[in-house]
Symmetry: C2
Subunit: 300 residues, 2 copies
């Protein structure tokens, strides 16, 4: 349904579609001088979390952090957030306080002020909507649409298996792009929320390029390996297609990377996994064979 | 539940409570120079509308306009909005398009850009959340907390009976405060969303004052009279306690009002209904008798 709606919006006008969700960038750029970026994201019961499996505190934390990850992906720092609570009327005040405590913990961790909110009670499920402002500190925001053939494709950390816990407790990569930009030239970025295979597709589409991934370079999380032990999928399939990694996917100019060694700590957050290509296909290189990379991540 | 939650927030810290909903002002003031105001409001199925009684287009329109009314109450103009759609998965694409058309119509009417959004499908009811930015054009925003004893209490139009249609088709009073401020000195403002008796209580509490209303000066809408014909309440009870009028409640300095006659059109939107008092009670004056004014408006 989301895909149909976005497609319709796109028919109406490119401008309308561009503003919706992760269709182009992770956040909208508002200021004339490009320093204020704004993103909005809701998490909903039974889609983004199962109430029996999480605490209200974890839900509040996650609702803020998914937005903070979008702000980080623009090379910005969170500044203010606005929260809309739609609470099932059977909830206790204790549960609402716990939810809010999670929002506060996340806001504090992001150095972000809770600047406004709205409270609604109703008889259906829980919806927590967060709208977050970010500041680029007068640097230009980093877009999805500016990757160029020859750029190195990178991720900021291990992927896959997020459902085993990472999706509730991740730390958005706030400041990472800003730190990296002192050593390398960044050409595009986005966060990985629906799985690398889907999100790489979006980055390439926005930039009108293709990419080739090297399978042996993919950083696979411990959780992806544990999950693979349980089900029929391989660790690499989990790394490619699981959602909610909230690592960053970004591209850099190769010459910078070769000439400037990174400090160790930063180096661990710049993992080259492939290259941007002029040919608009997504390919996966496994030794000598190249196969098309399907988008099997989470589709709304 | 909302009241309990806000009370708890207030115990935690005045700052935390101040940012939530209509507890203090209609919108948060973000910029250091006070020119960016931000508000967020969600409307939910079976609370703010009954699906059988409205069109999706009307819902989209209303979701934007309730926010625009908050922006107008700060003396600001809407600039950008962000919309979060939580759509029941059984909805057709046609219904979603119609909802979005209502959002677009309202945005156009407010001269406000749809700058971002998010789409979620789930198996519960419809939630439409809008976050709106407004600009005060470098004027100071108008607060609730600055009414002073002796100020005249005013509303911008007739009240009551909104449920007969007004709540779906109202025009927020954008620009009114700015136009009025050329002729009178405004000392406080808010919009009437939960009913005059409740919202006046909020304004007085925020300003640490009381008020005396003159019952014969209350502007009563035609709809309030029609509703009174049907049920046991009086037209004046509807005007005092019905929610969703989305007129403005504001206070002005009396000397300005006496010395500067208003142009006719503006004059129709400045209806004096009483006076702010030092004594912190809300009273209703009916001829020679004064009775306490109860807050009987919509409580969340």
């Amino acid at each position: 349904m989301e895909a149909d709606f976005i497609a319709w919006l796109q028919e109406q006008s490119e401008t309308q579609a561009a503003v919706f969700g992760d269709f182009t960038d992770d956040a909208a750029i508002i200021d004339a001088d490009g320093t204020l970026v704004v993103t909005t994201d809701a998490i909903t019961e039974d889609v983004d979390f199962i109430l029996d499996e999480v605490t209200p505190e974890e839900i509040g934390f996650k609702a803020v952090m998914v937005n903070a990850s979008d702000i980080a992906a623009m090379g910005a720092y969170p500044t203010h957030l606005f929260v809309n609570l739609v609470i099932p009327s059977h909830w206790s005040l204790t549960s609402v306080k716990s939810l809010y405590a999670g929002i506060q913990r996340a806001a504090m961790q992001c150095n972000c002020k809770i600047a406004g909110g709205d409270f609604n009670a109703w008889n259906d499920g829980l919806v927590v909507t967060v709208t977050m402002h970010g500041s680029c500190n007068h640097n230009p925001p980093i877009l999805r649409s500016t990757a160029k053939p020859g750029d190195l494709l990178c991720v900021s950390g291990p992927l896959g298996g997020s459902i085993l816990g990472h999706h509730l407790s991740f730390a958005p990569r706030i400041g990472l792009l800003n730190e990296l930009s002192q050593f390398v030239q960044l050409s595009s970025a986005m966060d990985i929320s629906d799985g690398l295979s889907s999100d790489l597709h979006r980055l390439c589409k926005a930039s009108n390029v293709g990419a080739i991934l090297e399978s042996q370079k993919l950083p696979i999380s411990e959780a992806a390996r544990r999950l693979a032990d349980r089900d029929g999928s391989s660790p690499i399939e989990h790394a490619l297609n699981d959602g909610e990694d909230f690592e960053l996917l970004f591209t850099i100019k190769p010459h910078d990377f070769q000439s400037h060694p990174l400090p160790n700590e930063l180096g661990r957050s710049l993992l080259v996994i492939g290259e941007i290509t002029e040919e608009k296909a997504l390919l996966m290189c496994n030794g000598n064979s190249k196969v098309p990379l399907e988008s099997l991540g989470f589709m709304h």
